[in-house]
């Protein structure tokens, strides 16, 4: 009877999850979506507690309390610039949880586990473990604990792939010999190693896609666990999570004009960056460097200004100064917009969140497709910490690694103000042709400092 009740509670929670994603489609209803999902999850947990007799409630309570104690300070204090790291960490936690539950499910029934169950378990554990180390590496790169450049060495694709193939091979052997429980940790080790190698070879600017792919893996492994336990709410929640990651990954890689495989195994950046170094010095002479006073004068006469934020804005926490500057411009009657490239920053939607934190009204945030036709009528485009997403080489140079990537047509604005820390090339290692255009004003320095000075210069006049 309890079993029947729990299925109905699961139905309710599935409905709430679906509604929650439906309500996430727009800002107005998104908060409701969050509550719906939380309620759905609570109902699923309560239903399960009613249906199954839990022998060790103490452990359950302890786990939950510890989880809440770790989770809530993170959620409350986390600076918005660190959201990508938090996301990577939560993928790591989620996938590890799923992999561990999968392992304990095997040990609980070993050796009486049929071939189908064990093959799903193996697939789910391999995915879970590789997502765990992959997400940990992504976290370390985003947090700056290890360098963000891709780790490139000869034959790395073969090393990575053979690690994965060994893990899968062990999984197949395990399914054929379900009593051989010693295989499980070895398989897990290879899956862990593969996740590590996979993400080590991926550079910082590809993180939006990587995080989305890891999201998809984490969801898929949760759905796999649902199959093993015949738990429908888990199958639905896992596949919703998985498809969400998948769609975001598709959007991200389309925005870079690259395939999944290219992102995962391309390792764009490291090689080219090395070859580019001498060239940078040579061209640097032609760049026109300006002071904030020059920029203030230009802005005095500007009627339309578009800010182009990128990861550099996040690094120097410049979003609040950007907003202040925008406010000053707006009180003068200047029209201000923000041009958001889909892969600007380190995760999908990163720039939107930072600017929202700085209280920028969200209808001033313009997506690439909508803002690009407006650049020719823009008086001043101010690039704050973006680089590759503005590089005109993506349109013209067929030999560029950026070629074919949709970019923000910043070069078409009447004046381009490019705030940049130094002449180092962007992540792709490509020099940005934008720097050498006659209507580009380069301002060197930390984004936050430059903008603060600019603000002071504008208030003077």
């Amino acid at each position: 009877m309890n079993g029947e009740l729990v299925s109905y509670l699961y139905v309710v929670s599935i409905i709430l999850f679906v509604l929650s994603l439906r309500w996430m489609s727009e800002v107005k209803t998104a908060q409701r979506g969050n509550w719906a999902a939380a309620l759905g999850l609570a109902i699923a947990i309560i239903g399960t507690l009613l249906a199954y007799y839990i022998q060790r409630v103490d452990l359950l309570a302890a786990g939950f309390v510890v989880g809440a104690l770790i989770g809530s300070p993170i959620a409350l204090r986390l600076p918005m610039t660190a959201v990508p790291q938090r996301t990577a960490m939560s993928h790591a936690f989620g996938s590890m949880a799923v992999a561990l539950i999968g392992a304990s499910e095997y040990y609980n029934h070993a050796p009486n586990v049929d071939a189908f169950t064990l093959s799903v378990l193996c697939a789910e554990m391999i995915l879970g473990f590789l997502t765990f180390t992959g997400s940990c590496v992504a976290f370390a790169k985003l947090q700056g604990l290890i360098p963000g450049n891709p780790l490139i060495y000869p034959g790395r694709i073969y090393v990575s792939l053979s690690t994965l193939i060994i893990a899968i091979g062990l999984g197949v052997y395990f399914v054929l010999n379900p009593g051989d429980s010693a295989i499980l940790p070895i398989m897990a080790a290879f899956a862990l190693a593969f996740g590590f190698l996979l993400v080590m070879a991926i550079g910082g600017a590809d993180m939006p896609t990587v995080i989305a792919i890891l999201n998809a893996y984490a969801g898929l492994s949760a759905a796999g666990l649902g199959f093993v336990l015949d738990n429908k709410v888990l199958i639905v929640a896992g596949s919703l999570d998985g498809s969400s990651g998948l769609i975001l990954a598709v959007i991200m890689s389309q925005a870079m004009n690259r395939s999944f495989l290219n992102v995962l195994f391309g390792g764009v950046g490291a090689k080219i960056a090395k070859g580019e170094e001498p060239k940078v010095g040579q061209i640097a002479r032609q760049v026109q460097s300006f002071t904030v006073d020059d920029v203030a004068t230009i802005l005095d006469n500007a009627r339309t200004v578009v800010f182009v934020p990128g990861y550099g804005m996040a690094v120097s926490q410049a979003q609040h100064v950007v907003k202040e500057l925008a406010d000053v411009l707006q009180t003068r009657g200047t029209d201000v917009k923000y041009a958001i490239h889909p892969v600007a920053g380190r995760m999908p939607g990163h720039m939107n969140v930072l600017l929202a934190e700085a209280q920028v009204p969200y209808d001033q945030l313009w997506e690439m497709d909508r803002i690009n036709p407006l650049f020719p009528e823009t008086d001043v485009a101010i690039v704050v910490g973006a680089n590759d997403v503005t590089n005109p080489a993506a349109r013209t140079k067929a030999d560029s690694p950026l070629y074919g990537m949709p970019i923000l047509d910043v070069d078409k604005a009447k004046t381009v103000v490019f705030i940049k820390r130094s002449m180092n090339p962007g992540f792709s290692g490509m020099d940005n042709e934008l720097f050498y255009l006659p209507h580009t004003m380069m301002v060197f320095g930390d984004a936050k400092k430059v903008l603060t000075d600019l603000l002071a210069a504008m208030k003077k006049t």
């Binding site: 302890a62 809440a68 939560s90 596949s239 998985g242 975001l248 029209d335």
Partner: protein
């Protein structure tokens, strides 16, 4: 016995999985790009429903080793649940605060900002 249940319900579960994936794709496609970051936090919290699987295993643990594994898993999933929903709410509140602010500005400037 759990294993047998999984086998007999395989086709039903596959149908559920496939339909849910298609539904998910359609739903996520319509999510505004503004909200992709909170969306990720939210779906991550939703998939922490795997804690339910932990509870099920906890109802019939064979030995202490399994207890340890599951307790770690429940702790990790709980962390995701708590921080996932909280951070989603926090990010969304930042977006919501815009509306009144926005209206005022539009009036001041004669509504010259393109809406939407």
């Amino acid at each position: 016995m759990v294993a047998n249940a999984a086998l007999s319900d395989l086709s039903t579960n596959l149908i559920i999985f496939i339909l849910a994936t298609f539904l998910g794709v359609e739903l996520i496609r319509h999510v505004s790009r503004l909200l992709h970051t909170p969306l990720m936090a939210l779906t991550n919290a939703i998939s922490s429903v795997s804690i339910v699987a932990g509870l099920i295993v906890l109802s019939e643990p064979k030995n202490d080793f399994i207890l340890i594994l599951v307790t770690i898993a429940i702790t990790l999933a709980s962390t995701n649940i708590v921080s996932g929903f909280m951070i989603t709410g926090r990010i969304l509140r930042m977006f919501r605060r815009r509306d009144p602010n926005e209206g005022k500005k539009k009036q001041q400037q004669g509504g010259d900002q393109a809406p939407k």
